[in-house]
Symmetry: C2
């Protein structure tokens, strides 16, 4: 799983949306002109919240350039293989 | 809120994903060549699941043409105005 501060990728998990929004704003302020907001499973809704809050409240010249979804196979703690959906939101400034 | 069977729009709520997948497959079988899978709030993750399951398992010649997100203001049962994120996934066959 990608680290939150890795390159220009914000991996959204179970923390409150604002902590990821802050990470996005920080990356833009650090000079990144493209960031990827990624999530899997139930965190996908939160990733959309993060992108929407970032562009509506903090980075009004940022746009959502593209959104891609996919399906990943992951192993549960019990050793079962299950499919989870993933999202990759590309924001550009 | 849009009816599930309305035009070519599937509005994803709290039912199991497969019931919305079935709605998508039915619309494609009824001759629609474009369908919109829409959701708000926490149901956004499920809308992505519905699109992914539909294209991976049932409609292998369907593609996700575009994905748009937005922010809608809704009124809670208590009368408060809150912002929720929304998604509109356009699938094409």
């Amino acid at each position: 799983m990608a680290e939150e501060a890795d390159d220009n990728v914000i991996f959204v998990g179970n923390k409150p949306p604002m902590s990821y929004v802050l990470a996005c704003v920080t990356q833009f302020n650090d000079g990144m002109d493209e960031i990827h907001i990624k999530a899997r499973g139930k965190a996908i809704s939160r990733a959309v919240d993060v992108a929407e809050i970032t562009r509506n409240r903090f980075e009004e010249d940022a746009v959502i350039e593209s959104i891609e979804t996919g399906t990943e196979e992951i192993e549960t703690d019990e050793g079962d293989e299950i499919n989870v959906s993933s999202i990759d939101i590309l924001m550009k400034k």
